[in-house]
Each structure stands twice: as structure tokens, then as C-alpha cells.
């Protein structure tokens, strides 16, 4: 049996082999058929699905942020530019282990904990999946190179160029221009769907000043593009693109050179300068000192820099003094005087006898004259309105204000913008306070006392006004009643911006136009009326302004003001004669415009200067105002006043030709 099996039947075996080979080939064939069916399933049946999956892999729709509009000053100087920077960004979805990647990046470039925590915060915000989230802003060339070399180890990490705001003049225009900074959660929450989409590619938004006011004009419209990315999220090519529409370029009334002059003139002082073109209301200068570098905010201010800015309680660099109210003090006197003239409570010739204090009928309390508190004593003697203005006689205004009553003061002064924000596009400006009986009842639930009127008539007590408001009111006086509303925006993309009719305010109506001239004369005397042999008969700002520049080519109208508390002498503090309000800080103010009394040239500029703790309105704030007006009229507008020479002594209307140069001027720098 076994022997038989041992025999090899070659043909039989061959047939067996052929048989098996055939079966094997059938199996091979059927496996190929199975493979083909599988391929058919993938490539034909499911083609649409996989084709779209493949596109989804590589095609990414992304926003293209628009270029932010540029901001120019009135002379075409670029105040806010866009400059390219390079940021390190991460696509979270492309990264397996975020901490590992961050650690690797930190080993290549400097990466602060703060940047990491800010980045993680950004990750939590609403965003398009697979979008780049910035980690580090402003990579240096060296850092860029180190990241690029290690790019293969950093899938999902990319270097993105970005245009960001730069402010070439650093702190000079910081408050007026404002700044842009990263959009925060709260701002995003306020967006509607359309806005959110329009800001899809934008990291920054205007936070203050013009940048915020005109955010809508400056931002532009977002574009879109479809890009092809590889598996590391790197963009390989662009396939489709809808270009973004750049934001509008804005031209402001602001004059950068004037900003610089105002900034320099304030020196080491804290304070503000606002200058307005009386013909348009255009804000020529709006400086608040100290400023801050707005560039710091653009790419995310470090907490160290930020806390340095916010913990400085004395200088408060982030605080915009130009739109913050202070007691206007004696700078309201021309307006109160004009009110008295218009409403018949005084006239150009009425003379009062000033004993140096004011007393309400039947009341023993005496309101002293601040301006005389350190001076020789006594009052101004016989004083009319004009003298009361250029000598800044409080008693005259106590009397006038008391007789007019607060309601008359309120309604008359409100025409000049006191107590309201007249500005068309400085929405963030404070309104200050123009008090009234109703106002006091409403806000303090107290009745109005006669003493409140007396304080208000010299711009103290409840009365508060911002430097912007003072500049506006001064411009209206310069215009002889034509009301202009202050504004920043002069033109959009070169097309002049004109406010609509509905934005106009009614002009201040003065029945006797001669009263305007009278007030202008009075204010011009503040600056130009020289010392004479007549006791207390010079302009309060004469020494600081006209006397220090004997060749002054033009006449300037002005009014000083001081609200003194801090450096009051001890004896005055204890004096029962003087009501020392806590609100009266020792601030120096000066309002001015020029040229004044010119036969052919209208006033070109109205200025309000506020110097915090500046002590003396005329000697500290006055020269600042002069520097600004000088610079504008002589350097910027380049008006040749020598062609309009006139009688230099016209202002010595009262008496002597002789000027007492050697007078003891101990009290002359008072208001």
C-alpha cells in the first residue's frame, strides 16, 4: 500500500499541480476583482465625497484684513501710518501638543509668560477654525530666522506679516488721535453679525480719540481669499481673492507743528492746550500733557508698561486733560460781562466803587477779591466793565452776577457751549457744569443760594468747563457771536467734510454790536495794556505777554484765570473773608485769540490753555497761549503784520502816555 503511494505518478501529480495553480489563479483573479471593486467604490461611487474632502484638506477660506485708513494733519503730515511687522502665529488645530510646541518656541526665541497667557486667552475667543492666532508680535530679523530654520519642527506655526498702526510722533498726539489696540471680548460682544464678519481678519480697533470716533471710516471692508495649504498649514498658493477695501484716509484740522509748539510751551507742566480755528471750529491743536506712547498699545502693551502708566497718580498720562472740566475761574468774566451788557444789568460806562470785597445786602459775610489777596490791599476803586476785565476785578462781577441771577447767566453762557459738548466729533469730551437752580436741585437736591451765584460769576463754585469748551467759547467771542462747533475731521479721502445744516447751532445774538467790540477791546487790554501811573490799571497779562515781546506784530485778546487753593498762603487760608472751595485747585488758565482789533484780518485762532497747578494764569498759561498763537499766525499761516502797522498806543485809552517801568510789580502777575 505504502509502496504504491511511494511511486510517483508524474502525470497525475502534474495534473494536481495544474489544478492547484488554476485555483490559485482564480483566487488571484477574484482578489483583483475585489480590489477593483474597492477602487471603483472609492473613486467612482464616493468620488464627490472624497473630492470635497480633498478640497477641504487643502482649501481654506480666510479673511484678508483691509488696510486701515491713514490720518493726516491739515498740512498733510502723516500722523498715523501702517507699517509691516512680523508676528508668530499658531493654528491650534494643527498642533497636537500645545505645551510642547510652546516650549520649543520658547527655546528658540524669548517668550514671556504674559505673552503665553495672552495667547491662551485669544485661543478661547470666538474665531474661525484653523485660523492663525498670534502668539508673539514684532519678531526681529534674528528671531524670524531662528523660527524659519526650525519650521519643520513646528507644524502649525507660521510667521505672518501684518500691517499695524504706527504713530510717528509718539506721545505728541496721543490723546487727540487716540490709538488702536487689540479688540477685546467686550467689544466683540457688541458687534452684530455683519460687523463681526467685517472684523474677521482684523486684530485691532480704535480705542480712543480720532481712532475710535472714526473707527467706521478708518476700518474699511474685509476681503476674502481661498488659499491652498499643505498639511503643516502653510499657504502654498492663492486661488481666489476678493480684495479688501482699504479704510478712508482722514485729514484732520489738527496741525502737528502747532501740537509740537503747545507741547513744548507747556514744558514740564501738566496741562492742556486746545486751539480752534474760529472760522470753522476746526481743532488746530489739542494737547494733553503728559502724554503716552500710543505705539505701545498697538501690539499689546506689557503689564509693566501699563502699570507704569496707570499707577502714576500725579501725572496720570492716560488722562486727557483737554476734555476734562476744571473751574474756569476768571476766564468766564468776558462772557459774564457780555451777558450783563446784553441783558441791561450794566453798560459800557457804568462804574462801581470797588472796596476790595463784595457783601450781600444785609449779610456780614464778605466775598473777597482773589486777585488782590497778596497785593497792597484795598480795592480797584472806580471800575467799569472794561477795567474789571483787564484787571480781573472780582468785586465787579460779584455784583453784576448777583444782580443778573444764575438763570440769566445760565441761559446766556449756554450759547457758548458751557455745560454741553458742542464738539461734533469729540464725543468723549466731558460737558463740565454750567450750574442753574434746576441743575442743583436735580443733582444735589439742594436749593440755590445767592452765594452760589456769586461764586459762579467768577467761574468758580459749581461752574466747570473743559479746555475744549473754553477754546470754543473764545472762538465764538472772536467770531463776534457766530457759533462754530469744534471738530477734528477736515476731509475724507481729500474730500472736505462739511457738517450738515442740522448740526449748526444758533449764533449768539447781541443787540448792540458795539458790545462785541467792547469786549474785544477789554480782552486785548488784558494782554497789551501797559503799566501806567494809574494805580492798578495795566492788563493782567501785559508783563507776561506784551511786555516780554515788545515787537509783537499783532494784537492778541486774552483773559487769564486762576483757581487757587494749593499754594494759598496760610494767613489767607485762615481769613474769614475768603471762601476757599475745595474744588478750587491751584490751576492756571488762559484763553486768547488773535489777531484782535485788526482792521482787515479776522481772528485766525482761539486758544485755551490749562496748566495744572500752574499757579498764575497770566504768567504761566499766558505765554503758552502766546507761543501757540505766534506759531500759528507767524510761522504756519505766515501772515505779514508789518503791512498792517497801526497806532501802538491805541490801548492806553484811559490816561498817561508814560509807562512806569520801574514799578514794583509784586502783584502784577496776578489776574
Amino acid at each position: 500500500m505504502t509502496g504504491k503511494w511511494q511511486l510517483k505518478d508524474r502525470e497525475e501529480e502534474r495534473r494536481l499541480f495544474a489544478n492547484r495553480l488554476l485555483i490559485a489563479m482564480i483566487i488571484v483573479a477574484s482578489l483583483f476583482v475585489a480590489l477593483t471593486l474597492k477602487l471603483f467604490n472609492l473613486q467612482v461611487t464616493q468620488y464627490d465625497y472624497f473630492a470635497s474632502r480633498a478640497d477641504g484638506n487643502r482649501l481654506h477660506s480666510q479673511f484678508v484684513p483691509p488696510a486701515r485708513g491713514l490720518i493726516y494733519d491739515r498740512s498733510g503730515q502723516l500722523l498715523a501710518d501702517n507699517q509691516p511687522i512680523f508676528n508668530l502665529s499658531i493654528v491650534r488645530e494643527r498642533i497636537e501638543d500645545l505645551d510642547e510646541t510652546l516650549a520649543l518656541i520658547a527655546s528658540l526665541i524669548e517668550l514671556s509668560e504674559e505673552e503665553v497667557s495672552q495667547f491662551k486667552e485669544r485661543l478661547l475667543r470666538r474665531r474661525v477654525p484653523f485660523s492663525s492666532v498670534p502668539l508673539r508680535f514684532v519678531l526681529s530679523e534674528d528671531e524670524k530666522a531662528r523660527i524659519a530654520v526650525n519650521a519643520y519642527r513646528l507644524p502649525g506655526v507660521s510667521i505672518d506679516p501684518q500691517f499695524v498702526r504706527t504713530y510717528p510722533f509718539d506721545d505728541l498726539n496721543a490723546h487727540a488721535l487716540g490709538y488702536v489696540s487689540e479688540i477685546n471680548r467686550d467689544e466683540l460682544d457688541l458687534f452684530d453679525e455683519e460687523m463681526r464678519e467685517n472684523y474677521g481678519g482684523t486684530n485691532h480697533i480704535g480705542k480712543s480719540g480720532v481712532e475710535r470716533t472714526y473707527e467706521e471710516l478708518l476700518h474699511g471692508e474685509v476681503g476674502y481669499e481661498v488659499v491652498e495649504k499643505n498639511n503643516r498649514g502653510q499657504v502654498m498658493r492663492r486661488l481666489e481673492r476678493t480684495d479688501p477695501v482699504a479704510g478712508h484716509n482722514l485729514t484732520l484740522y489738527l496741525e502737528n507743528r502747532l501740537q509740537q509748539v503747545a507741547h513744548d510751551a507747556l514744558g514740564e507742566h501738566r496741562g492742556a492746550v486746545v486751539a480752534i480755528d474760529p472760522s470753522t471750529g476746526g481743532i488746530l491743536a489739542m494737547v494733553s500733557k503728559p502724554g503716552f506712547d500710543p505705539n505701545l498699545f498697538v501690539t499689546g502693551i506689557s503689564s509693566k508698561d501699563y502699570s507704569a502708566l496707570v499707577t502714576d497718580n500725579i501725572n496720570t498720562p492716560l488722562f486727557d486733560r483737554s476734555v476734562n472740566p476744571y473751574p474756569p475761574a476768571s476766564t468766564v468774566k468776558p462772557f459774564i460781562g457780555l451777558a450783563g451788557l446784553q441783558h441791561g444789568f450794566t453798560d459800557r460806562d457804568t462804574v462801581i466803587q470797588d472796596p476790595g470785597y463784595f457783601r450781600l445786602p444785609g449779610v456780614r459775610y464778605r466775598w473777597g477779591d482773589y486777585t488782590l489777596r497778596t497785593a497792597i490791599g484795598g480795592g480797584h476803586g472806580e471800575t467799569n466793565l472794561q477795567r474789571a476785565i483787564y484787571q480781573s476785578c472780582d468785586t465787579f462781577f460779584y455784583d453784576l452776577g448777583y444782580r443778573m441771577g444764575i438763570e440769566t447767566i445760565h441761559s446766556f453762557l449756554s450759547q457758548f457751549g458751557f455745560g454741553q459738548n458742542f464738539a461734533l466729533d469729540v464725543g468723549y469730551a466731558r460737558t463740565g457744569v454750567l450750574p442753574s437752580k434746576d441743575w442743583k436741585k436735580r443733582t444735589r437736591n439742594e436749593p440755590w443760594y445767592p452765594g452760589d451765584t456769586i461764586n459762579s460769576s467768577i467761574g468758580q463754585g459749581y461752574m466747570w468747563a473743559t479746555p475744549l469748551q473754553l477754546a470754543t467759547a473764545t472762538a465764538i467771542v472772536a467770531n463776534k457771536g457766530k457759533v462754530v462747533r469744534p471738530r477734528m475731521l477736515a476731509a475724507v479721502d481729500g474730500v472736505p467734510f462739511e457738517p450738515s445744516e442740522s448740526m449748526l447751532m444758533p449764533d449768539v445774538q447781541i443787540d448792540d454790536a458795539e458790545n462785541w467790540r467792547y469786549i474785544e477791546d477789554s480782552m486785548t487790554m488784558v494782554v497789551h495794556r501797559p503799566y501806567s501811573d494809574v494805580f492798578r490799571d495795566y492788563g493782567t497779562a501785559y508783563e507776561a505777554i506784551a511786555r516780554s515781546d515788545r515787537d509783537m506784530a499783532y494784537k492778541m485778546a486774552g483773559k487769564s484765570g486762576s483757581a487757587q487753593v494749593v499754594s494759598i498762603d496760610q494767613d489767607i487760608l485762615q481769613s474769614t473773608d475768603i471762601d476757599v472751595s475745595d474744588l478750587n485747585k491751584d490751576h492756571a488758565l488762559f484763553i486768547a485769540y488773535g489777531p484782535a482789533q485788526h482792521p482787515s484780518i479776522e481772528p485766525q485762532i482761539a486758544v485755551a490753555v490749562f496748566v495744572e497747578n500752574g499757579q498764575h494764569g497770566s504768567s504761566v498759561a499766558g505765554p503758552v497761549a502766546k507761543a501757540v498763537i505766534d506759531a500759528y499766525l507767524l510761522d504756519i499761516l505766515q501772515i505779514d503784520f508789518t503791512a498792517f502797522e497801526e497806532d501802538p498806543d491805541a490801548l492806553l485809552s484811559l490816561t498817561s502816555e508814560q509807562v512806569f517801568e520801574d514799578l514794583d510789580h509784586a502783584g502784577h502777575d496776578h489776574d
Binding site: 510517483k8 499541480f17 488571484v28 483583483f32 480590489l35 472609492l42 468620488y47 487643502r58 499643505n230
Partner: protein, 387 residues
């Protein structure tokens, strides 16, 4: 029964007697090269270089190295074909013993590459993988053993044939190269199957394998092997990890459609979504750029080579040649099918390259050793072919 056989034989015999007059040319006989197989391999190699050029993003250097490896391969094949198949048969036992010795040597002084200690780095010799050679030596010895014994093989012969197969396979597993061990085992099993292993035993083996697989999965499989099995059933269990390769490769294949995206336009491969796009997953590049038609052309070329191999096996002069040629052909098929099945998602991921297409000079040269043996067998059969 005898007459029937005889008459059949007669018919076949007479056909073969007529064959010499119609044979293509004596030239191929002289240089001992089978022109049909050569044509198939040439076309496959050219197609492979063509695809590789795109898969490597136009990396001429890689393509050049691959082309050089192919030339070397053709040289090796021609060299192998010069020796009579009887020579291989005589030396099979010695080669087998030598193979085992070298495998043992690898375990002692082998070099680790890609996680497997299967490379031998002897001074003066290029480093090589001895286990690759066992893919030929094992079927050779099993064919030597079974070819001279009655078919179908008895239990005793099955046992010895099994032992011949499993000893080197076990050594290769010890080298941590499961893939090669599997292929070596399969090359031995193919010989057994072609030698007429009884269906009872075949089915019993299949049933045993089916029963054993869960046991293997639960107790023996390594974590990454389990992962591959799991992602085979559902790649989306771990779409960015173990399932990523197969998902991306299916996307590439599927998005290629019927006609493909065109040469060099495969976004999936050129944007690096396909991993291993010029080695194990090169089929995805082909499928993406040339669509179903491009893949079917490759399948056709493979089928051409396989049919030629089967033809050589069928017409081999003796049982040793038949079994060896059959086993080599089926092993070649198994290679490409495992790869294509893996890339298309028909099979779990097993790291095998696509023969003659994937980048890798060693694999190419090794394949040509097999084709050289096939040609040697073909020459011994006197150039007999079905047509």
C-alpha cells in the same frame, strides 16, 4: 483512465513538438532570458519610475537611484537566469543551512534599522537583510523536499515542510520583523498548497487560523498591531493618529476619480497629506493623479507578470521548478495585494512596499532575484510556453 491520460498527453505532446518552429527566436534561448517576463518587468519599472518622479515632487536624484537599482536588479536577474535550475535545486539544502546560520548571526551581531534587528553590516560588504534571501531559499527547499516525494504530501512530509518553513520564520520573528516572517511562511505554505495539500487540511488550517486570531489579538498582539486592526475597521476612531494614514490615502484615491487629477497635480500628495507617499503609500499618489484607469493599468501590468509566472510554473520541466515558480509568483502577488489592499483600506495596515513602484533599491533588487529564478526555470523547460 490510462488511455484518457495518454490521449491528453499525446495532444499536449504533439503541440509541444510543433512549438520549436513557432518559437520567437533562438536569441532569447542563447541569452537565457524570457522576453515576455522581461517586457512585463520593463513596463512595470518604467511606470514605477514615472510615478515615483511625481511622488517625490520631481526629485531627480531619488528617481535616478531607483533607476540604478532597477538596472542592478535586471543584471542580477540575468545573472541568476544563466544558472541551470538544477544547480539551485542541488544547492538548496546547503543554501538553507547557510541561511539559518546567517540568521543566527544576525541575532547576535545584527544592526537595528526601523525597529527590526534584521540587518547585517559585515565589513567589506554592503549592509543587507539576510531574511530577504530566505524568501527564496525557503520555498526552494520546500519545493526540493516535496518535489521528489509523492503528491499530495503525506502528514510526515507536511510536518517536515512545515518545519523547514517555520524555523527561519521563527528566527525572523526573533529579529522583530513580523512582516518578513509572514511572507517567508506564506512562501512555504504556497509550495504546500500547490503540491496538493489536501483540502481537509487546508480548511482545518483556515478554521484553526480563524479560531486562533482572537486569541492572538487578545494575548499576543502588540499595541500598535491592535491599533492597526481597530483602525482597519474604523479609521475614524483615531483620525489624527493611527487612522490618519488610511483616511488621507482614501481621500487621495477617492478624489482621483476615474481619470485622476493629472500628472503632478495630486494635491493630497504634493501638499504632504499622504504620509510615506513615495514608499508604502505610493499607490495613493498614482490613484490620485491617474484615477481608476491609472490603477487598472498597474493592475494589468502586474497581472501580466503573474500570468507569465503561472505559465512558467505550469510548463516547468519538473515538480521542483513548478512548485518554486508557482510559489514565487504567488508570493509576488501577495506582496502587491497586501500593499494595494492596505492603501485602499481593504486590509489592515501592514508595512509592505508596492513591488517595483515604491522607492527602495534593496526591495527592487531582491524582487529581481525571484524573477531570475523564474527565468532559469523557464529556460530548463526548453522555453515551453502555453503560447
Amino acid at each position: 483512465m490510462t488511455s484518457l491520460t495518454n490521449s491528453r498527453d499525446f495532444v499536449r505532446q504533439s503541440k509541444l513538438d510543433l512549438a520549436p518552429q513557432r518559437r520567437i527566436s533562438g536569441f532569447w534561448q542563447v541569452i537565457r532570458i524570457d522576453p515576455v517576463l522581461l517586457l512585463g518587468l520593463l513596463l512595470l519599472c518604467l511606470y514605477g519610475l514615472f510615478i515615483l518622479y511625481s511622488a517625490t515632487d520631481g526629485d531627480v536624484e531619488t528617481v535616478r537611484r531607483q533607476a540604478i537599482a532597477m538596472c542592478v536588479g535586471f543584471g542580477v536577474m540575468a545573472g541568476m537566469a544563466q544558472l541551470n535550475i538544477q544547480f539551485y535545486r542541488r544547492w538548496a539544502p546547503s543554501a538553507y543551512v547557510a541561511g539559518l546560520v546567517v540568521l543566527g548571526l544576525v541575532l547576535l551581531i545584527g544592526v537595528d534599522k526601523n525597529g527590526a534587528r534584521s540587518w547585517l553590516d559585515l565589513p567589506g560588504l554592503p549592509s543587507f537583510q539576510p531574511s530577504e534571501l530566505l524568501k527564496f531559499i525557503v520555498p526552494m527547499l520546500v519545493a526540493w523536499y516535496l518535489g521528489s516525494r509523492p503528491m499530495p504530501p503525506s502528514f510526515k512530509h507536511i510536518f517536515w515542510a512545515g518545519l523547514i518553513t517555520l524555523i527561519p520564520a521563527g528566527l525572523i520573528i526573533l529579529q522583530n520583523d513580523t512582516g518578513t516572517a509572514l511572507m517567508v511562511t506564506m512562501s512555504g505554505i504556497f509550495v504546500l498548497l500547490l503540491a496538493g495539500l489536501r483540502w481537509r487540511i487546508v480548511f482545518a488550517g483556515l478554521v484553526a487560523a480563524i479560531i486562533a486570531s482572537p486569541v492572538w489579538y487578545l494575548f499576543l498582539a502588540l499595541p500598535h498591531q491592535k491599533n492597526r486592526i481597530l483602525t482597519f475597521f474604523d479609521p475614524y476612531l483615531d483620525p489624527t493618529g493611527a487612522g490618519y494614514n488610511i483616511i488621507q490615502s482614501q481621500i487621495a484615491i477617492g478624489s482621483g476619480g476615474l481619470y485622476g487629477k493629472g500628472y503632478g497635480n495630486g494635491a493630497q500628495s504634493h501638499l504632504d497629506f499622504i504620509p510615506e507617499s513615495n514608499t508604502d503609500f505610493i499607490l495613493a499618489v498614482l490613484a490620485e493623479e491617474f484615477g481608476l484607469l491609472g490603477v487598472l493599468l498597474l493592475v494589468a501590468l502586474y497581472l501580466f507578470v503573474i500570468i507569465r509566472g503561472a505559465n512558467i510554473a505550469l510548463n516547468a520541466a519538473d515538480m521542483f521548478g513548478r512548485l518554486l515558480a508557482g510559489s514565487l509568483t504567488l508570493t509576488f502577488f501577495l506582496y502587491l495585494f497586501v500593499n494595494m489592499g492596505m492603501v485602499t483600506g481593504l486590509l489592515p495596515v501592514i508595512g509592505l512596499p508596492l513591488p517595483l513602484i515604491s522607492r527602495g533599491g534593496t526591495a527592487v533588487v531582491t524582487l529581481f532575484i525571484g524573477f531570475g529564478l523564474l527565468m532559469s526555470i523557464q529556460m530548463r523547460s526548453g522555453g515551453r510556453s502555453a503560447r
